[in-house]
Amino acid sequence: MPTKNSLDYAYYPGCSLHASAGEYDLSTRKLFKALGIGLTEVPDWFCCGATPAHNVDELLSLSLCAKNLELAEQVEGDLAVACAACFSRLKFTQHTLEENSTKRKQVETAIDAPVKLDGKVKHLLEILARDLGLERLAASVKKPLSGLKVACYYGCLLTRPPDVPNLDCIEAPTIMEDVLGAVGAETVAWSHRMECCGANFTLSRPGVVIQLTNAILESAKAAGADCVMVGCPLCHGNLDIRQKEIEGVYKTTYNMPVFYLTQLVGLAAGLSADQLGLDALIVNPLPLLKEKHLL
């Protein structure tokens, strides 16, 4: 009798992964397939409301997430989430509804269904580092990323606030470094890995975003990094898509490719540039990868 694969997940890509971050979606699916991890997209999932909903209407924000959590119940397995903002909102909803029965009742009325909170919501990082495990991850490596110096960028949402995402230590996490270490890359110690990139101000207050992202890129460069790795499409947008603009404002050049975590791990797992959607990145990573003999 075939044993059930414990590494089967419901998959919540989130809107960005179906739009500007298509390469994150593509690389996630390809990588997980290569690692033997099952992903089944949640049927009929819709926007979780990040990033604006919770600033405008808390009930709406909670209800959007609660409904998505309910939809996810149809698929067996924990819920795998790629975007740090979706991850944060879903975790927040679970946390809030767990603690506050009044809000829970309001949400149940709004979505016309009982709220279920026992399903586990996991960021892709947790699945790689803990469920698959660093040892198995290391064993799957076909092409170690040796010589590649990576600045792991967590941003503000992956670990914060205390007691909500419970992904890792709130202020000094190591999970990204652990994952990259397992696939042979070198990670740099740098100062801005937990600073905010300005995420949802990207359209409304670009000036703020440019200042914040410049500090991040400057710090990564000063630490000797070749590239940055992220686990969030919003961070990615700010650091990658806006990089030329930042260089222009600050009269400097970074030329710092910004990878999704699944792209770097996928590279180590032997996937090709096409399978990982590397051509979709704005700062062209190919020269760097060729120089390091990784392509």
């Binding site: 606030p161 205390p162 007691d163 230590c169 709130i170 202020e171 000094a172 110690a189 740098w190 100062s191 801005h192 937990m194 600073e195 710090s219 000063a222």
Partner: protein, 665 residues
């Protein structure tokens, strides 16, 4: 037939606000066996107690129930009053109608009904109370003090000055504790060494004090007045009697570069060392882990140069057993080390501050060593990384303290004051330097404390920024401090040359295991618990054990010294009598029913259960039964709950009494 007297207290309005006390008195008065029942505004007051005494005599009462607050509060008071009126004190019980009733209810009808039931239960219970004779035990008039910081030193000197022998046990090679490390002390800025070392010498010279340094408490047996303490004297490798303290061995020792813990690892020491020049005793210790002789068998230089032949590589740990009547625990504190995320602890670490990674991010104690005239820099404020004088220095308060999310919610109490002191010392030493302090708020409740803090701002030019720091990072040879100034509502960044973190005060490592040896309780942070936060602040709940200094909670020197003298006074009170009276709430074995399974012996936390042989007249062994030593029994009742044959009972809490209470409901 019993003639029970019931006394209902109003507790001002604490009880009478929600319980109709007069109705309770009237209702309870009708219960069989109750001969007298009344209510009064403050039963615990002098007139209240007199009312009780008078009623006992006039009404010829045989048993008493006082319905008032918790027995933890006033059981002693009322039992004393009852005794003064000529009744056995254990024929008096309290019914708790305050904590268990008036304070937790709002509806007067319901609360009154409940109060009547509570009192009714105690009436039925007290009928089954027996006269219990007071137990007396002899007192050994010697005491043990654990920990030789300022608190332990003060307690030891006070007790010894009263003429009682003291055994002072210190884990480190020298006494002195943290105060010996300090430079100058708030609020007067007198030199710590100058006020501390004379006391250390007094300890060494006192005819009544036996000092065991480099020693630890291994085992504590017995009970108040009669403890047996086993002390492990760790091998020093130097014979204390022969050593003259000349120091030649330390000079000649070829291993010179061991970081000295006393200097917060800034200075170096040899493998044979005293932690600091004023150490008491001035006898070195060989650090065996770093000594070449112990590692490879070669060297042996110190033995060759030691004139009196004091070096003894063969020395082994020895165990000494000391009988004592009282114990003062004064094991002090440690600073929270934020660079290591403590394994398995609820405390989450402060990796974002780079402590342990950025060399010029130091803690408060390290700053004390830099500022100390006898410290590794001779009192110059210099950066550990390159020995340069820092011109911009940032102090950050409340690191670890008052951060619920990170696992510690308490205030460490001394950091506001010592940070103010640090800014002053800095300003005195680096005239062209600027000190900044990030703080949440300044807590300076103490005599001349607020004035001291104000001085650091008004005269010593420290810039105080109200707000916390989110992150520090190294940028070139500067440390960028990112924080917020909430008074102005802006983010601030300071490029500092050095950063000093006021890390939280925590109990010493191993405080919990010592507590378990002593059988005393501790809180979730491992601070030792006093018997009552307000009224018994220096006593442990475990009789005969007292607390002094920072082991009980963060404290500065004046507080630690006051508490130490208070603990000494408690020890002296105990020693004032030759025999000690103790409550007869102890377990008794009914030997007829005991089957000798000794389930009780296994569960007794006090080690009170012994094995007793029952023999017939010819001396033939009939059976072995359990025997509870009344001097040792803690009265917890665990054996009673465990015994499968119901053969052991706690006096004052017999099954009969409990069943009577339940049946009254």
């Amino acid at each position: 037939m019993s003639r029970i007297g019931v006394f209902i207290c109003h507790c001002g309005e604490n009880i009478s606000r929600t319980v109709d006390v007069e109705r309770v008195a009237a209702q309870v008065g009708k219960l069989p066996g109750v001969a007298f029942s009344t209510d009064y505004k403050y039963m615990c007051s002098d007139p209240g107690q007199n009312l009780l005494k008078k009623a006992i005599q006039e009404q010829k009462l045989s048993h008493i129930v006082v319905a008032a607050c918790s027995p933890r509060m006033h059981e002693r008071t009322f039992r004393k009053a009852v005794e003064a009126a000529g009744l056995n004190p254990f024929l008096c019980e309290m019914a708790n109608i305050r904590e268990h009733c008036s304070w937790v209810h709002e509806d007067k009808e319901e609360a009154t009904a409940k109060a009547i039931e509570i009192v009714g239960m105690m009436v039925e219970r007290v009928k089954k109370n027996r006269v219990l004779p007071t137990i007396t035990v002899p007192v050994t008039k010697r005491s043990l003090v654990i920990g030789g910081g300022i608190a332990g030193i003060q307690a030891a000197l006070d007790i010894a000055d009263c003429g009682h022998e003291v055994i002072l046990v210190e884990r480190e090679p020298s006494i002195g504790g943290h105060m010996a490390q300090l430079s100058e002390t708030f609020p007067t800025l007198d030199c710590s060494q100058c006020i501390m070392t004379p006391k250390m010498v007094d300890v060494a010279n006192h005819p009544k004090i036996t000092l065991y340094t480099w020693s630890e408490v291994e085992l504590v047996e017995g009970y108040i007045g009669n403890f047996q303490v086993t002390i492990r004297r760790k091998a020093r490798s130097v014979d204390e009697d022969k050593c003259t303290g000349c120091g030649v061995c330390m000079e000649k020792c070829p291993i010179k570069k061991i970081p000295n813990k006393f200097d917060c690892n800034l200075g170096m020491r040899p493998a044979i060392y005293v932690p600091f020049p004023q150490a008491v005793p001035n006898t070195p210790v060989i650090d065996r882990a770093n000594c070449t002789k112990f590692k490879t068998g070669k060297c042996g230089l110190c033995q060759k140069v030691c004139g009196p032949g004091a070096i003894d590589y063969e020395q082994e740990d020895t165990l000494v057993v000391e009988p004592v009547g009282a114990i003062v625990v004064a094991t002090g504190f440690d600073l929270y080390t934020i660079d290591e995320k403590p394994k398995g602890s609820a405390i989450k670490g402060y990796g974002e501050f780079g402590h342990g990674k950025i060399p010029d991010v130091i803690d408060g104690m390290t700053f004390e060593r830099l500022a100390s005239a006898s410290g590794p820099t001779g009192g110059k404020i210099l950066r550990p990384s390159d020995g340069k004088e820092p011109k911009q220095i940032v102090f950050i308060q409340c690191i670890g303290s008052r951060a619920r999310e990170k696992g510690i919610s308490y205030c460490s109490k001394v950091c506001c004051m010592y940070t103010a002191k640090h800014t002053m010392l800095y300003h005195h030493k680096v005239h062209d330097g600027q000190a900044y302090v990030f703080f949440m708020d300044a807590r300076t409740p103490g005599k001349n404390y607020d004035e001291f803090w104000r001085r650091s701002i008004e005269e010593e030019e420290a810039v105080y920024i109200r707000g916390m720091v989110s992150r520090l990072y190294q940028k070139g040879d500067k440390i960028v401090v990112m924080g917020s100034d909430i008074a102005v509502g802006v983010q601030v960044e300071i490029e500092a040359d050095m950063v000093v973190l006021a890390t939280a005060v925590q109990p010493q490592k191993g405080a919990d295991s010592l507590a378990q040896k002593l059988g005393i309780s501790y809180d979730k942070y491992n601070f030792y618990s006093e018997a009552h936060a307000k009224l018994r602040p220096v006593e442990c709940a475990t009789a005969g054990i007292y607390l002094a200094g920072a082991c009980q909670g963060p404290k500065d020197i004046p507080d630690a010294v006051s508490q130490a003298s208070a603990a000494a006074a408690k020890v002296m009170t105990l020693f004032a009598k030759d025999k000690l009276e103790r409550e007869p709430i102890v377990a008794r074995v009914k030997e007829g029913g005991c089957v000798g399974c000794f389930a009780c012996k296994k569960v007794c936390a006090y080690g009170a259960v012994e094995e007793k042989e029952i023999r017939d007249r010819q001396g033939n062994l009939i059976k072995v039964v359990a025997y509870v030593n009344p001097g040792v029994c803690g009265g917890c009742g665990t054996c009673q709950a465990t015994c499968p044959s119901k053969s052991v009972e706690l006096d004052g809490y017999t099954d009969e009494q409990i069943v009577a209470m339940i049946e009254a409901l």
